[in-house]
């Protein structure tokens, strides 16, 4: 278990060298909730380890099916790196079919099969005075300078190199480069690629593309989403559990988003999509504007008078009832049309979208607010570090001041949880359990805000003992409230107590 060593190494570093800012980042281990009895087993792999892993899997499969390494890799990719499935399918159905499906030539037959039926007679390269003519550059080259795959199409080596370089560098293709011949879908294997490439840049890019497709295809591997981090998390099964990369970032292994307990991946995905798309813009338009009853132009009212004249079609109408202005009389208008069916429908539709908008904004504001605060807490780490140094100058030991950093950790965890409780609540249908949930949410929010306030206060020599007590109590309280909330939600999942609103 490589991760254990790593975490140990990390906390060791923390005790020896607390100057390093990164060490102050919240230590969220896979067991950070303290409520999940079985820990989610995972490893953090560096790039080289990913390559080793890939090679190992290839070896393992080769030992069973006995086919060349590069063919195995393409085959594995075809099976999304599920080696059990590959081996099972290999022995239970026709291997030749599998090779054809994966765009490979069966190594046992070495006969062109997938190469498209009709044309391409074995005239891949024409002989001219004992030399071959490459069909790409039309140059005559001696046989030893021609190359090709098992499909039989042959081109000159320099054209091959050029072709592969274009595919790799310009089109970003690694896994699925096919033979250069028209209508031939036989894939180029790594060995051939590496043999034909000479530029080390291109080779490197190719290796990156291969590794990337290995990770992307493999359900048990996930890139750390931190830009340029380059580490890969390897889980033993797929589950929505938090994983922490060597760079300190904690995210959900199932969906790759920041760790989002208590909300489920699918709901969070829905929420993010809602926040990203324009549905709320159109909701705003529906809530704050009306359409001209005649030409349907969208109108926002910016003055007091209800006698509207559409700028576009010159139609006179009443803003309140959306009926024509004429029957409203010359004195103060008499909206007796107010109750008419059509106007009623228009109004209720508008009220609906106004209510929907308000509801969304309510949850969104709170979600965004915690997200913003969470970002600011990173500043708090810096200021807390100063305070801790200051306190150590005033006769406090190193161990005695650690409570401050711990409190900021708790604060961040609570913010992260609170932020996602609003996503959860947005989709939640009201029932008895949801009321309990909201009470838990309120308690946690209140306590979190108080903790945040304590941490931002000036700490002076006089109040030091008092504030230490308060901060410690409050952060313990926050932690326990957070656990209560999460536990309640998880129990709700298990007992199917949560009902969702399905039309938003």
């Amino acid at each position: 278990m490589e991760i254990d060593d790593d975490l140990l190494a990390n906390s060791d570093a923390g005790t020896e060298d607390d100057d390093e800012f990164v060490e102050l980042a919240p230590e969220q281990t896979s067991a950070m909730d303290g409520m999940d009895p079985e820990e989610f087993p995972y490893d953090v792999l560096a790039l080289e380890q990913v390559v080793t892993l890939m090679v190992d899997i290839i070896k393992e499969v080769r030992n069973v099916v006995e086919i060349p390494a590069t063919t195995t890799r393409i085959l594995l990719n075809h099976f999304k790196w599920d080696k059990e499935k590959l081996i099972e399918t290999y022995y239970e159905s026709d291997p030749d079919r599998i090779f054809a499906d994966a765009h490979l030539i069966s190594p046992s037959r070495k006969v062109a099969i997938a190469c498209s039926k009709r044309e391409i007679k074995p005239r891949y390269s024409v002989k001219e005075n004992g030399e071959y003519v490459c069909e790409i550059c039309y140059a005559s080259v001696p046989e030893q300078l021609m190359s090709g795959l098992e499909c039989g199409h042959r081109f000159c080596i320099s054209c091959w190199t050029h072709y592969l370089t274009t595919k790799i560098m310009d089109e970003g293709m690694g896994q699925t480069i096919s033979c250069a011949a028209h209508n031939c879908d036989i894939l180029v294997d790594d060995e051939t690629v590496m043999k034909l490439l000479s530029d080390s840049h291109v080779k490197l890019k190719y290796q990156h593309l291969i590794t990337n497709s290995f990770v992307e295809c493999n359900r048990l591997l996930r890139w750390c989403p931190t830009p340029d981090c380059g580490h890969v998390i390897k889980g033993q099964y797929v589950s929505d559990k938090p994983v922490t990369c060597r760079c300190g970032h904690t995210f959900c292994f199932a969906c790759g988003q920041n760790w989002h307990d208590p909300v489920k991946c699918s709901i969070l995905r829905k929420w993010i999509k809602k926040c990203d798309d324009d549905s709320e813009t159109s909701n705003w338009i529906a809530a704050n504007t009306k359409e001209c009853p005649k030409c349907r132009s969208i109108i926002e009212k910016d003055g007091g008078c209800n006698h509207m004249v559409c700028k576009k079609c010159r139609f006179d109408f009443c803003w309140v009832c959306l009926g024509p202005w004429e029957p409203h009389g010359s004195s103060w208008y008499n909206c007796n049309r107010y109750d008419e069916d059509e106007a009623k429908r228009a109004r209720s539709a508008q009220e609906k979208s106004r209510a929907a908008l308000q509801r969304y904004l309510f949850y969104c504001n709170r979600y965004m607010n915690h997200m913003q605060s969470l970002k600011l807490e990173n500043k708090l780490y810096a200021s807390v570090r100063d305070k801790m140094e200051e306190m150590q100058k005033h006769n406090m030991s190193w161990i005695e001041v650690q409570f401050l950093k711990k409190a900021v950790d708790v604060l961040c965890q609570c913010r992260q949880t609170l932020m996602h409780t609003y996503v959860f609540a947005f989709y939640l249908r009201k029932n008895n359990q949801s009321i309990i949930f909201e009470t838990n949410q309120r308690d946690l929010e209140q306590a979190t805000e108080q903790l945040s306030e304590y941490l931002e206060r000036e700490i002076t020599q006089e109040v030091l003992r008092d504030i230490k007590q308060k901060v410690q109590d409050k952060s313990r309280y926050c932690e326990s409230r957070r656990n209560v909330l999460l536990k309640h939600v998880h129990e709700g999942y298990e007992n199917e107590l949560w009902e969702y609103l399905d039309n938003i």
Binding site: E135, I136, Y138, A139, D170, A180, A181, H182
Partner: protein
């Protein structure tokens, strides 16, 4: 190939001139050997029969590693060719192979005129029409051929 025209383009051009494809004419521009003026005759038994369609074909710097750029200059009513004359054809995009040539590209375009593919449309309105009322679509295509692709 430094500086000059690659051997491949020279040879292809020579061959195009020496053994032209029936119904297709491709002449390099006087000032630019990578730019071709193309005339394609509407294939027999297609709604484009009797029409002569002007196209332009340009061989980019990376040719033959990337596909030539081809565009209809004559207006044409076809589900896979848009208002600007751009062509939706797989071998001009992801199915391009450096072993293909100007000749094969133009033959494929001619084949596309014989067999429009409304299921993979570029011009949605035309494709819709082709699916809903094929007879009407063919009539329109014939009319456009007469209006825009017939000389004199």
């Amino acid at each position: 190939m430094a500086g000059g025209l690659p051997r491949r383009i020279i040879k292809e051009t020579q061959r195009l001139m020496a053994e032209p494809v029936p119904g297709i004419k491709a002449v390099p521009d006087e000032g630019n050997a990578r730019y071709f003026h193309v005339i394609v005759e509407g294939p027999a038994e297609s709604p484009f029969e009797g029409g002569t369609f002007k196209l332009e074909l340009f061989l980019p710097e990376e040719y033959p590693m990337s596909a030539p750029k081809v565009r209809f200059m004559t207006k044409i009513y076809h589900p896979n060719i848009d208002k600007l004359g751009r062509i939706c054809l797989d071998i001009l995009k992801d199915k391009w192979s450096p072993a293909l040539q100007i000749r094969t590209v133009l033959l494929s375009i001619q084949a596309l005129l014989s067999a429009p593919n409304p299921d993979d449309p570029l011009e949605n309105d035309v494709a819709e029409q082709w699916k809903v009322n094929e007879a009407q679509a063919i009539a329109t295509a014939k009319q456009w051929t007469k209006m825009y692709a017939t000389r004199g």
